[in-house]
Each structure stands twice: as C-alpha cells, then as structure tokens.
C-alpha cells in the first residue's frame, strides 16, 4: 500500500491534486481511499488530504509514521504533518511561505530556521522553489499540479496515465495549463 499526504493552506488546491492521484491509482486497478477537509477549516486554515492506494484499503486516514510521501505546498505545514511520515519517507516541500494570521498580526514569527531544521532531520527531503515553473505556466493557481508532477517522478504510473486522469478531472479550458504545469513538475530536477 502507498500512502500520500498533501498538506497546504485552504485554497491551494490540495483536493484536486489528491483527486488526480486517486483517479490514476483507480485506473491502474488499485483500491483507493482518501480523506479531506471541507467547511470552516477551508477559510485560509491548514488543510490536508490523505490518499491511500493498494490491493485493499480500509482506513481513509493514514496512521502515524506510515506516509510514504508528504507533499507540502507550504513550508510551515510540514511541521503539522511530519509525525505521519514513515521513517525514510519522502518529503517534498514547496519553499514558499504563506504567513498565518498570528504572523501577519505580528503576534508570532514565522520560524526562520525551518528549512535548515528540516534538511538536518529529514534525510529524504526535497525542497522545491516553484516560482520559476509557476511563472512559466502563467498562473500561481497551478502550484498543486506542479507539485503533483514532482511527486509523480517517484510513483509507478506513466505520463499517459497521469495525463488521462488529468483530462478526466479538469475543465476543458484549464486543461492545457494543467498538463503543462504537471509536465514542468515531472521534469523538474
């Protein structure tokens, strides 16, 4: 069984990213389960999706220390999910910072040493500066799909499988943009 957590901030599109992953896994013949957050938390709060696929999946929630991957669309959000990462699990982090309310109001500071701490303590971490890729796509809204593209390099599915899943889930007029974003992520090095 493979376990993937997408973490981010409400509005960043973690649900769409996990939907695409689920579709790919389903089409490849796997059982799939997922758990997501709606409602109040979506108003700019921390959000995450748990995606699991394998021969048979019971719980829609991933137990602690069993996530093979954590894909975090924001750096601080890593800290809220790290306890779920399996020993040796892969962490993919967008290095962009989105200040939470207490930082915006000046009540707290955004921890300045996060990146340093993560690279020291999580051996299998990949830090990604997505800004160049997002510029190339032409919209910051594509962050979720760029990150999905990066994740896809470590998963077994082919480019065709991914593209057909994206096609079935994304509106026609956003399709080219999303395919481009996905491939930029997939070719990232």
């Amino acid at each position: 069984m493979k376990n993937v957590i997408f973490a981010g901030v409400g509005g960043q599109g973690v649900i769409l990213a996990s939907k695409i992953l689920m579709e790919v896994a389903k089409n490849a013949g796997y059982d799939v389960k997922e758990s997501e957050v709606h409602g109040m938390a979506q108003r700019g709060g921390s959000v995450d999706c748990n995606v699991r696929y394998g021969d048979r999946v019971y719980s829609p929630l991933i137990p602690r220390e069993e996530a093979d991957f954590i894909v975090s669309l924001e750096m601080l959000e890593v800290m809220r999910k790290l306890e779920y990462l399996a020993p040796g699990g892969r962490l993919i982090v967008n290095t962009e910072k989105v200040n939470p309310a207490p930082v915006q109001t000046g009540a707290m500071q955004y921890p300045p040493d996060l990146r340093e701490w993560i690279s020291k303590n999580v051996k299998n971490a990949l830090f990604v500066d997505t800004s160049g890729m997002l510029k190339e796509v032409g919209t910051r809204k594509a962050l979720n799909i760029v990150m999905l593209g990066i994740l896809s390099r470590d998963l077994e599915f082919t480019r065709e499988q991914w593209e057909s899943a994206i096609k079935s889930l994304v509106k026609e007029k956003f399709l080219d943009m999303n395919i481009k974003a996905f491939n930029l992520g997939r070719e990232y090095n």
Partner: protein
C-alpha cells in the same frame, strides 16, 4: 458496471438516484452539503431544493413521501435538532413512498458548534438507523434505506460522520430504478396526528420495531467476521475501518444497522469470543446497549468519548502501540497555528472593525463571521446555534434593562436570518425590546460554499426565482428603524451603528455587500 471514485456524500446522492428518488431537500451544513449539490448537478431526474431550514426540508420531504413519492432530506447533526419536531411525529405517521433522512454527525466538531451523537435520536424518535462505513456502502445503504422505509412503513435515517461524508473511495455504480409515484390516498388515521390517532400509531410503531429487530438480526447489514476468538470487537461506521486496519486478526461484529440493534447477533458474537470490546466514536451507544443485555464488554474505559477516532487511537487502545519518535521534535521556535480566518476583503471584516472600535457586546450567530470571535477582531461574545443571537440579545436586555441594549448588538448573516432569525426578531418587537440587529447580507450561504437561499433569487438548480426582500420583511415585522448600507464605507457604518444602538426602539441595519468569493 462502471466504477468511480466518489466522495461519501456523492455516493449517497448516487444511491438516491439509483433508488428512483423523486424529491430531495436540504439546508446546507458541513459535512452534509455536497449531497444535494451532487443531486442538483448530476441527477436532474430528482427534483431537488434548498429549503430555508432543516425543519422545512424534512417537512417537504415528508409531504413528498406521504403523497407517494420517494423522498430524501439531508442535514448535519445539529440540523436534525431543528428538524426534530417533524421527525418525531412523522415517525408516527410512517410513509407512503420511501422516506430517507441523511444525518451527518461531526465528531471533533470540525465545522460545528458541538459533537452530538445522533444515534440517540434514532432511538428517541423510534426510527431505524443504518450506518455505512465507506463510500460504496454509503451508496448501497442509501438505496436500501428507501426499500426498508416502504417495507416497514418508517422513515429511515442514514447516519454518516465527517469521515464518511468527506472521504473518497471506489464505488460501483448501478442503474436508476424507475419507481412510479404512488397515488395519495386520504387516510387521516395515519396522516393526521390527533391524540386519538397518535395513540394507535404509537402501538403500531412498537410492533414495527419488533419486526425491525428481527430484520436487524437476519440482515447482512450486521455482519460477523470471525477471526481469532480470543478477542471480539463490536464496531460501527468509520471505526470499523480503523479496527480492520489495526486488528486484522480479531473477530469483528460490524454493526450496519444501529437501531434497532441485533440482540441475537450480539449474543452469538459475545458467546463466541473470550473478551469483548466495543469500538465506537463519541457516546457509548452500542456499549450501553450491550451491557443492558447483560453482556460484559470494554469500551469507553479505553476508547475516548470526545473527538473523532483515528487508526492511531484504536491501535493504542487495543494493541498498546504508541508511535512517534521517528523524527525529533522541532523545539527552537513555537510553530504558529494557522486558524481559519475571514478572507482578506471580506465584507464582514468591515462590520467587525466597527463593532470592535465601539466595544459593543456582540451576540453572534453561525457563519463565516463566527470567526470574528477570534483575533484580530475578537468582537463576538456569545454564539450558540442558528438564529440564537437575536433571542439572546433580547434576553440580555430583559435581564439588565434597556441600557444593556445601548451597548450591545446582535449580528446574523442573511442565510442564517432566513433559517432561524425571523421568529426571534418578531419576539424582539412583540416583547418591546429596543435592541439593534445587524443583518450581514453577503448574498449567499458563504461558510458552506456560497449556496443560494430565498434571499438570493436563485434556486439550488440555478433557476431564477422570487428574491425575498429582507428590508420589507423586517418592516412587516414591525421594525420602524431600518437602514440599508454598504459596510465598505466604514465611517458611514460606524455613524449608523452608533445612532441605531443609541435609539431606544428596535432597529435593523442591513449591511449589504457580496462575499468576495461569490461571482
């Protein structure tokens, strides 16, 4: 058959579609909202609608059922409180066409004001309740609920929780079964609950309860999965998935029909295992029942009563497994929390800027604006349930005298006002209150995803309809001081709030500006 990845709520919508449901109603509420949204979007064969509140939604569905159609009403757990009155009596009348109520509980109160366990309501209202544990079952059980409803002449509650509603999984789709709408046959003994009619109906439903108990005992909804007989676990809803994940070798009794409970199956299971456990979220509903049968079991001593369960909690309680420690703790700096907050530019923000500045007591309500209780505004001081703010506002004035109304307001959103704010405003005028109510009209039900309501002029399916005129309504209630203003002009708003709060008679300020996320 085609297989699709569906959200639990989408699966319920699909189940209603396949069952040939004719009418579906709801008031939006997390975690139940997507059920009706999916029906309106994908299954136009079902006439679907947002009702002003859950009580009306349930009554419209009841009318559809009593007159011979198959009907579904969906709501969150606290919504069923609002609809409890019709629920308890339509339990007596029973149905004509299948009548299914989908109730979504919210353990951990992710998006709610409490985490009540509505399994109790099934028992209290004497209505059968079934509980799916994944999206496939969500579809299958909803479909089955319509048949059960007609077979036993009872409304049937399908109870889901947040982790069923908002988790996705693979669902095998079926065809829609076309069910004709039966004729409406006048039968006052069944459908008019005069005391003389209600008494025999009570006798009738107790008889049906016995038949349902027999059904519960033989139904595949309640299923024993024998494993190692040293330990047996009775479980329901999503907790079943956590048990299967963490205790794969144990014997399991999966409860899919939680009311009425299958006594014989429970006895058989208990007799077959050395030690019996009950793993359920929230209250010891199953546990108390099992103990009342005289069967010892372990439940809430080791399974928390508060908040939703997780596989980790179950693993720890049953297997003593404690994880953590794979990575060190980050301790150099505090990690700032990221609480939900009003969007930048939210129209409510202007209102709370003023209320904070004027340092008024604010009786709040349910919506995005409840977030104004938190920093940076910290400008809401009471809040209970839909519509409570206006009644509480009057109550404060009654306790402290009119001077209290000179330093307080009630705030309520447009959708919440239509849901439950009208009657307390009538009370405020009728009982000679002098307070000020601010209706924050952002043209939609924002919190749950910007659904329409009677004040927006659009139906659930996007059709144009009459737009409820809040100003006219408030005037008809008897409020003479009514001001409509755009909160973006903060200075003007401040002037108005000062003036209206100072005035010794009831007043309503309609602060009108569209939510920035509504197109």
């Amino acid at each position: 058959m085609e297989k699709k990845v569906l959200l639990g709520n989408e699966a319920i919508a699909r189940g209603a579609y396949e069952a040939g449901c004719h009418v579906a109603t709801a008031y939006p509420g997390t975690p139940s909202t997507e059920i009706l949204e999916t029906i309106a979007r994908d299954y136009r064969e079902i006439r679907s609608q947002w009702s002003p509140n859950e009580k009306v939604a349930l009554e419209v569905a009841a009318g559809a059922s009593v007159s011979g159609g198959r009907a579904l009403a969906a709501m969150k757990h606290v919504g069923l409180n609002v609809a409890a009155d019709p629920l308890f009596t339509f339990s007596y009348t029973g149905v004509n066409g299948g009548f299914v109520i989908v109730n979504a509980d919210d353990p951990s109160a992710w998006s709610s004001q409490n985490e009540q366990d509505n399994r109790h309501l099934a028992r209290a209202a004497k209505v059968p309740m079934i509980e799916p544990s994944n999206p496939q079952e969500a579809k299958d059980f909803t479909k089955l609920a319509f048949d059960l409803s007609e077979e036993f002449d009872r409304p049937v509650i399908v109870r889901i929780t947040t982790r069923i509603a908002h988790s996705q999984g693979i669902v095998e789709l079926g065809e829609r079964q076309e069910v004709p709408v039966k004729p409406f046959v006048r039968n006052p003994q069944k459908f008019v609950m005069l005391p003389a009619h209600a008494r025999p109906r009570h006798v009738f439903i107790e008889e049906q309860h016995k038949k349902l108990k027999e059904y519960s005992n033989r139904s595949p909804l309640n299923r024993i999965e024998w494993g190692n007989k040293k330990r047996g676990i009775i479980t329901d809803s999503v907790a079943y998935q956590y048990v299967k994940e963490t205790c794969p070798d144990d014997s399991v009794l999966k409860i899919g029909m939680v009311w009425p409970m299958p006594d014989d199956v429970i006895r058989e299971f208990a007799a077959g295992v050395e030690k019996l456990y009950v793993v359920e979220e929230l209250d010891p509903f199953i546990e108390d029942y099992v103990k009342a049968l005289g069967i010892p079991c372990t439940g809430k001593e080791i399974i928390p009563i508060c908040f939703e369960l997780t596989p980790d909690i179950v693993d720890r309680a049953l297997n003593g497994k404690i994880k953590g420690g794979a990575y060190p703790k980050y301790e150099t700096n505090p990690v700032p929390p990221r609480p939900p907050a009003l969007c930048a530019g939210c129209p409510h923000g202007f209102v709370f800027t003023v209320l904070k500045k004027l340092d008024l007591h604010v009786n709040g309500d349910i919506g995005c604006y409840t977030l104004a209780a938190l920093p940076p505004y910290s400008a809401m001081h009471t809040q209970g349930c839909m519509g409570a703010g206006i009644g509480m506002h009057l109550g404060m004035e009654k306790a402290h005298g009119p001077e209290m109304a000179r330093k307080s307001v009630a705030v309520i959103g447009d959708s919440t006002f239509v849901h439950s704010g009208i009657t307390p405003l009538i009370d405020l005028v009728y009982n000679k209150g002098t307070g000020t109510v601010i209706i924050m009209d952002n043209r939609g039900t924002a919190m749950t995803g910007h659904q329409d309501h009677p004040g927006t002029g659009k139906t659930l399916s996007g059709e144009e309809t009459h737009t409820l005129d809040l100003e006219l309504l408030v005037k008809a209630i008897g409020v003479k001081r009514v001001v409509v203003t755009d909160p973006k002009n903060v200075e003007e708003l401040e002037r108005i709030v000062r003036e209206e709060v100072a005035a010794p008679e009831p007043s309503v300020i309609i602060s009108k500006r569209k939510c920035i996320l509504i197109k």
